[in-house]
């Protein structure tokens, strides 16, 4: 502690400790719970738990490959979707608007970030899924069905593709705010360097965006980690099928959707609960690693460019 603090300050400082310790404790307990509950299935099934895609609880056959690949695919689609919206939004807000308009635009982005995901989930399942089927999935299948990803005919809108794009829409505010912050943190001296060599506005934006590329990448990595955990939208749009398919237009499942939809009934089947815990462990592990990687990339970029 700093020198010369009064008794009251000390008490105030001490009062800050319990909540912080408690929070840390909750985190540790959560990880330990998940870990210890997964041990049974991990030791029983070993690698086949993540390498197999057979899901047959009645016969005690558990393979998590479909949900794991589903999570990775939907999250990849999600960050691609977010990227398509976030870059233009960033440029629009940072370069082509000022004063009132800029405030309105940034507020809309922030507001979107505050919308509960259940709202996105309802919208995506009742409206967006069929829209995507009609205007994106059907045409892609019609013209590019040689590509395995597009090879199956979309039956309903509910699919890995729809889940990915819908989750992507929901993380646009999160990703945009990170990219925007990085972009606006580029020092004025470098903006002027662009203008100083005769860049047009478009050329300046290109140079500055390429400067911000590591930060954009980091934002996408963090967006990926967040998409992995997105549950409500996934359950509502992914189609909840345990069959593994190489085609993103078929219904599928994600780890989060699997846990949310199966956990209540898991006690009916032997080992099912432990398997679900193992899948959560998997997601937790990837999310922690990615968050760490993303955050350290952002910090490294800031040190290099902003200071």
């Amino acid at each position: 502690m700093a020198m010369g603090v009064s008794r009251k300050d000390k008490i105030f400082f001490l009062s800050l400790i319990p909540p912080s310790i408690t929070l840390l404790g909750i985190l540790v307990v959560t990880v330990i719970t998940i870990l210890s509950n997964s041990l049974e299935s991990l030791s029983l099934y070993g690698l086949s738990l993540i390498a197999s895609s057979i899901w047959d609880p009645e016969n005690l056959k558990y393979g998590l490959l479909a949900p794991i690949l589903g999570s990775i695919t939907t999250s990849t689609l999600a960050i691609l979707t977010a990227l398509v919206f976030s870059i233009p939004l960033t440029i629009l807000i940072a370069e082509y608007s000022s004063g009132f308009v800029k405030n309105v635009l940034s507020s809309i982005v922030e507001l979107m970030g505050g919308i509960p995901t259940i709202v996105y989930a309802i919208w995506a399942s009742t409206y967006f899924a069929s829209l995507l089927k009609q205007y994106v999935m059907d045409p892609l299948h019609a013209y590019f069905s040689i590509i395995p990803l597009f090879s199956c005919k979309p039956i309903t809108g509910f699919s890995i593709f729809t889940a990915g794009v819908s989750i992507g829409v929901s993380i646009v505010p999160y990703v945009t705010s990170m990219i925007l912050e990085a972009y606006q943190n580029i020092p004025q001296a470098l903006r002027e360097a662009c203008l100083g060599i005769g860049c047009t506005k478009y050329e300046s934006v290109k140079v500055l965006m390429s400067l911000a590329k590591p930060a954009v990448l980091a934002s996408l990595i963090l967006g990926f980690a967040r998409s992995l955990g997105e549950t409500t939208i996934a359950v509502a749009t992914v189609g909840n099928s345990m069959y593994l398919s190489s085609c993103i237009f078929s219904p599928g499942i994600t780890v989060s959707a699997l846990i949310a939809s199966q956990f209540a009934n898991a006690y009916l089947y032997k080992y099912a609960e432990s398997v679900l815990y193992a899948s959560a462990l998997f997601i937790l592990f990837i999310a922690i690693v990615l968050s760490f990687v993303g955050l350290s990339m952002l910090i490294k970029w800031r040190v290099k460019v902003v200071v």
Binding site: S98, P187, A189, L190, R191, E192, A193, L195, G196, I197, G198, C199, T200, K201, E203, V207, S210, L211, K213, K304, V305
Partner: protein
């Protein structure tokens, strides 16, 4: 005809009168040095000439600015800046581009060169003119963070030259670097006036004496004296200039 002509230029920022009735004429292929204490408005004059001043929405400008015979405020600012290179007080190379690309991008953007060989040639030319070539020729693929402050500033000079500008604005290019590098930049600048009209800002009278053809003395937003360098240095008309030249302010 002058390369740059300012007539009764006034600049106000948030109501504060920053530049007062600035009138100056810069002949082609000369080095015109603006001297003055810090805060007197030197940078602002340069930023009026290439219209960077307009990045500040609170700045109001009146008067006439002619660049290469054109009314600077009647042509597109981006077109205007294609003819005017600028080196800033603090070196600002692009940290994410190699030394080569830092120079090449200026040539590419201004369509000075497109093909690989042309680019190679202009990059080399610019780095040679900036007296940096020998120090970086073996590490053109490195990033600018490996360079010293003075080398970075010469890289910025090379970048500005690669635009093939008609006019070069230098804002205290040696203020933040060591004397050896400063001398190199001065040498480079002196050799450049054959091809380019140079307007340089400095707070060092010694530097002005070494490189200038014409000098202007600015104090508190007004030009209080200007003329050929010998005239101003031998016969300063105002007390302030005399003191400034002796290093007393």
């Amino acid at each position: 005809m002058y390369a740059v002509e300012l007539d009764n230029v006034n600049v106000y920022i948030e109501g504060k009168h920053i530049l007062k009735n600035i009138t100056l004429r810069v002949p082609y292929n000369t080095i015109y040095v603006i001297m003055g204490p810090s805060g007197s408005g030197k940078t602002t004059i340069l930023r009026v000439i290439n219209r960077l001043i307009e990045l500040n929405p609170n700045a109001k400008i009146d008067g006439s600015v002619k660049v290469l015979g054109y009314d600077a405020f009647k042509i597109d600012p981006y077109d205007l800046r294609k003819h005017i290179g600028m080196v800033f007080q603090i070196p600002n190379p692009f940290p994410h581009m190699t030394i080569y690309d830092n120079v090449a991008i200026a040539a590419r953007i201004n369509r000075v060169a497109r093909k690989r060989e042309e680019l190679d040639e202009i990059v080399r030319w610019a780095l040679e003119k900036a007296m940096l070539w020998d120090e970086v020729k073996d590490r053109l693929r490195s990033y600018p963070h490996v360079l010293s402050g003075g080398q970075k500033q010469r890289l910025c000079l090379a970048r500005a030259l690669a635009m093939k500008p008609k006019i070069l604005l230098l804002d205290e290019p040696t203020a933040n670097i060591d004397p050896v590098n400063a001398r190199k930049i001065e040498e480079a600048i002196s050799a450049l006036k054959e091809e380019i009209t140079i307007i340089m800002v400095t707070h060092s009278p010694h530097q002005a004496a070494r490189v200038a053809d014409h000098v202007a003395m600015i104090y508190s937003g007004s030009i209080i004296e200007q003329g050929p360098v010998s005239q101003v240095f031998l016969n300063p008309k105002t007390d302030f200039t005399a003191k400034f030249l002796k290093g007393e302010v």
